[in-house]
Symmetry: C2
Subunit: 663 residues, 2 copies
């Protein structure tokens, strides 16, 4: 155990590095690292099972800095522990281009950063996914292989954000006892004191959700350590409200929002050095402090070595499976299973909703890919996300592979990010397409973090009918297509749905959105092709390669495009239908292929029961768009398609008018 | 007081109408109205101050059906009370095109519906805005003119959604004692029993946020009435958890998720009629039941008449101001104030960030438009949303005009919807542009409900610099431009900022997003023009009407376009800069104007520090887009613009390459 004297020098090293790096960058947040330095020191040197030399060791404790603006706390800690990734030069390059020390922690940039945080509340919400993945893998592979804690530092902002409620309720319900949240209870937000905007009793609030929760003096290392001990002993997730002082040590700015988000200034820093008894120049850490930080690493190294022995002692097959799973590699046999299922579908020609096709796809895929972990934000019977064999994950028994996320689209999506970041499972989760809005901040982090998360978004247009405009997505496809590194796929029938599922699984570095219909759709891929045609993004589904009219469509509107093609042909013109399951995949094709799809026709028409924003990329300024211009309405689907003019007749008429005008 | 016998017949009328309408529509949610029929009967016949003949009377109690899927409860009640809007034919046309009875309540369609609900949690979150507006107007106009309750029915879904936490915490903090939430505690969600996904103690949870909260038997009318009395007497907002049975009366489906969201079926309905002792045919309500529902209206009519006398007794000026405010009409003098301020700005040519320009605009506008009610989601010093004169709204004193919304972007936005729906105030609120994602579900409802809510979204691009990709919007402009009925405006300097503010205020039926820079921008509107040029959406800012190159840009990239223009001209070509403060406004211009902007140039270039999705609408497939293709990065702004190639040189080079190729 570290002595108190050492403790304070160790904690002050964090404070000094945070002050200095923010000052040098002339940008950043010194207040949180200075306030939470004691807590972080206790956590990392007395508790964390974390070998800094092996930052991706599977059974390490996970640390999530939910208050991501305090990134210098994390960088300082990793540096002090001896991370090769973060020598002092990197701390001097804080917030500069190409450094490993960006303003907010980015897991894809910096080894040792478990997840990307900054958008408040999401670190906490992701930690539920980490802690849940840990339990699910422990149930599968045994606690001798998977048995670690997930620690979180969260601030007032994290706990004010709504997603915190979803996270807390879900974690409390699932009794994720190895989740321990350290709340930086400093009473300060950007606007000033927290009493400007909140009066909640956080301890009582967590207790109401089934957590172990208590208050401690966050500047007293022994009190913090004792609280962490109690948290570890609890059979509930734990929240420790650590009373701290933002900017602790700064002579005039401590305990004030002026310590939060900007450099303290040279004079204030000098004053803080004096108060803290820290006489070293900027970025200089004395050897004894380094040594004090690094000595406890021996404990973690020993734990890792013991774990590796246990792993080596596993039966070869189980060990290989664990290693495969943690690597993210897919199992053998996926493609063969998909091709076989496609062949059967091309013959059976089922007329089903694509949400049902997705369920059917899952029946195939979950057998081949055991790491698929499903769920829904309380729309299981609507999203068709549960297979016959999937068992629920329930409090205390985590051996199931289906998660009842509750009415928590954002919490679900953030948890899926956490599950992905943890490794070992591939999460998918469902809600209505219109509620991608609720989940959007987490979808964005999926994309930014390069996470293979699969969003099963059903009821994808006015085709859902009577529930009306609040439930009918119209702008969502466009809004999602605008997001970098996100695959948006809208399949037209059972074959395309299975292909899109395969693409999603085989995309290890980006999330996918599957936009699926509520209503039944005819089979359109009725000739078996082994190739995954949807992977082209857009392809000729019907009609000659060279045609006077090209009708682009997606999902449920393919049926309309096929009918429009017949109407155009009846007037003596040639027409083809291009199915466009994914804009992103299409624009990744080579130029010749793109030209073969985009060019050659006199008239280009696009049909999609959504706004046309972005479709000019495929049909040009002069193309015809048949779709929505407004929000939807409440009525049976058929009436709505007619009401909004999304019909084969409208598409054919528009094409024919253009053709005749150009004659 | 109504006798118990009458009560049950009255409540059963709701149950019967809900069963029958859902059955006839073959779609809808009978379970909630059947479970909450007793609560609704007690509320509407014993407490609500609501004159059904004057559904827009300013001082009526507000009723928010946060569990919007239970719309038949609201339609039944309004019908039973005698609403002219909802004769029995409308209930028979439930969920049909052009009816007044859509699947979820839509305030813009049906008189008597206070707000649009369905996306869960938002009704509750909007109710905070209603209750807050009530207190703010009471502080201004006196309790003899504004003094009413806001009642909410919320379900498990509403209370699981994260936004409920933001709403509860804010309402508890602000001590909105006239807000009373009736929680339909039926223990059932779509997936099954609530114990699949939640274990929270809702009463303890609300108490932790400073609410009066208690449990009652929701099927016992006297118990419900007594609880509402206690709630009205409390000096805190109140939550009454009403233990109910979903689908109460249905013989086999009650207390099960099968009663939630689909028709019960003829047999089940017949069984329910028998159990409930309701012997009437579908859609038939006996006269004594109508009479029992309508008799208590006398109380509300008397209250309204007394109120009208008090209003008439006000000093003429105060009365006129109250009536103007509730009508939504703007005061005289706005345009003159804007033109005068624009003239001063054209002369002063301030080089400021547009967020600062927005603050300066607010200093002008809040003096002329006293109904402006500002706020920020805890980013006041960053969003520049507070004027010098604005005083905070604080618990117990609601006379201020600045709301500390806390770190609650979604809750803030929903509250602003509630404030707008209440009437009498025009809310604006700030956060970072990237966090429009957090607020997006409420922004969508603003647009759908035609609400004049003004979103002040600062830090609108990579130009915010070091905070990095989590904080840098890149896809948000496109995602927002895709949304129907939303004005997205990105001004380039102080004059455009003021113009955009004017447009937002003068748009009574749609919300506006102001996308504002963190970084300083040069003045570009340096010649005074009285006309609001931004209202054109796009206009020639510099250069000849006919030019070989048109450089489109918005906001902070106007500066780059102007520099690019000079580089193009230096090579002997003509160029013009078109400022595009708003896509939506531009595409509302007549064809000749649009052609004057879009056509005529050999090369079209667009410059925007965001993804190009949707820009083809202005520059065609063959235009050049200079902007972002990925997420941003953490570095000083200047370094980022260079790193991502968003420079005058890149724009000019691209234009010159095209020009030379076409020579």
């Amino acid at each position: 155990m570290t002595e108190p004297l050492d403790h304070h020098r160790m904690a002050n090293a964090i404070r000094a590095l945070a002050m200095d790096a923010v000052q040098k960058a002339n940008s950043g947040h010194p207040g949180m690292p200075m306030g939470m330095a004691d807590v972080a020191t206790v956590l990392f040197t007395r508790f964390m099972k974390y070998d800094v030399a092996e930052p991706r060791w599977a059974d390490r404790d996970r640390f999530i800095l939910s208050a991501g603006h305090g990134s210098m706390l994390l960088y300082s800690v990793l540096h002090l522990l001896g991370s090769e990734e973060l020598p002092i030069e990197q701390l001097k390059a804080f917030r500069q281009l190409d450094s490993k020390t960006p303003g907010h922690p980015e897991n894809f940039l910096t080894k040792g950063v478990e997840t990307t945080t900054g958008p408040l509340g999401q670190g906490l919400a992701m930690s539920v996914g980490f802690a849940l993945a840990e339990r699910m893998l422990a149930a599968e592979f045994g606690e001798e292989i998977v048995d670690h804690y997930t620690y979180v530092i969260a601030g007032d902002g994290c706990l004010m954000e709504g997603v915190s409620h979803e996270a807390i309720d879900l974690a409390g319900h699932l009794r994720l006892a190895k989740l321990i949240v350290l709340f930086d209870d400093n009473g300060i937000t950007i606007d000033g004191h927290t009493d400007l905007s909140t009066s909640v009793d956080q301890v009582a609030r967590f207790q109401a959700s089934g957590w172990h929760a208590e208050r401690v003096d966050g500047l007293d290392p022994e009190a913090v350590a004792a609280a962490i001990e109690r948290a570890r002993a609890s059979d509930r997730p734990s929240m420790i409200a650590c009373k701290t002082v933002i900017g602790y040590g700064a002579p005039t700015k401590a305990d004030s929002h002026s310590a939060h988000g900007s450099p303290l200034g040279d004079q204030e820093i000098a004053g803080a050095r004096e108060r803290l008894g820290w006489a070293y120049p900027p970025f200089e850490i004395p050897d004894d402090v380094y040594a004090a930080w690094r000595a406890p690493q021996a404990r973690s190294v020993a734990a890792r070595q013991a774990w590796q022995e246990r792993l080596a002692a596993l039966p070869a097959e189980k060990r290989a499976e664990f290693e495969r799973r943690m690597s993210g590699a897919l199992p053998e046999g996926l493609d063969a299973a998909v091709v076989a299922a496609k062949q059967a579908l091309a013959e059976a020609k089922p007329k089903v909703a694509t949400r049902k096709a997705s369920e059917n796809a899952l029946e195939v895929l979950t057998k081949v890919v055991p790491e698929l972990a499903g769920g829904s934000a309380d729309l299981t019977p609507s999203n068709n996300t549960k297979t016959k064999a999937q068992k629920d994950v329930v409090p205390g028994d985590y051996s199931g592979r289906y998660i009842r996320y509750g009415i928590r689209e954002f919490g679900m999506s953030a948890a899926m990010n956490g599950i992905t970041q943890h490794g070992g499972l591939i999460p998918y989760g469902g809600t209505f397409m219109t509620f991608t809005d609720y989940a959007r901040p987490a979808i964005r982090l999926s994309a930014l973090m390069h996470n293979r998360v699969i969003y099963v978004m059903t009821h994808d247009s006015i085709g859902l009918g009577e529930d009306g405009p609040t439930h009918q997505p119209v702008e969502h496809l466009a809004a999602l297509r605008a997001m970098p590194n996100l695959l948006v796929m809208r399949p037209a029938d059972s074959v395309e749905t299975l292909e899109c599922w395969q693409i999603a699984l085989e995309s290890p570095h980006r999330p996918s959105i599957l936009a699926l219909s509520r209503q039944n759709l005819p089979a359109v891929r009725t000739e078996h092709v082994a190739e995954n045609l949807s992977a082209r993004g857009a392809y000729v589904l019907a009609g000659p390669a060279e045609a006077e009219v090209t009708l682009f469509a997606t999902g449920s509107e393919i049926e309309i495009a096929i009918a429009a093609k017949a109407l155009v042909e009846a007037e003596g013109y040639s027409a083809r239908v291009v199915s466009v399951p994914s804009f992103e995949l299409f624009f990744e094709q080579d130029e010749a292929y793109r030209a073969s799809i985009l060019e050659g026709s006199k008239v280009r028409v696009a049909i999609e029961a959504a706004v046309g924003f972005g479709w000019e990329r495929l049909i040009g300024e002069d193309g015809v768009f048949i779709g929505m211009k407004s929000f939807g309405a409440s009525a049976p689907a058929e009436a709505l398609y007619k009401h909004f003019g999304i019909t084969a007749e409208a598409a054919a008429d528009a094409a024919l008018t253009r053709l005749k005008a150009n004659r």
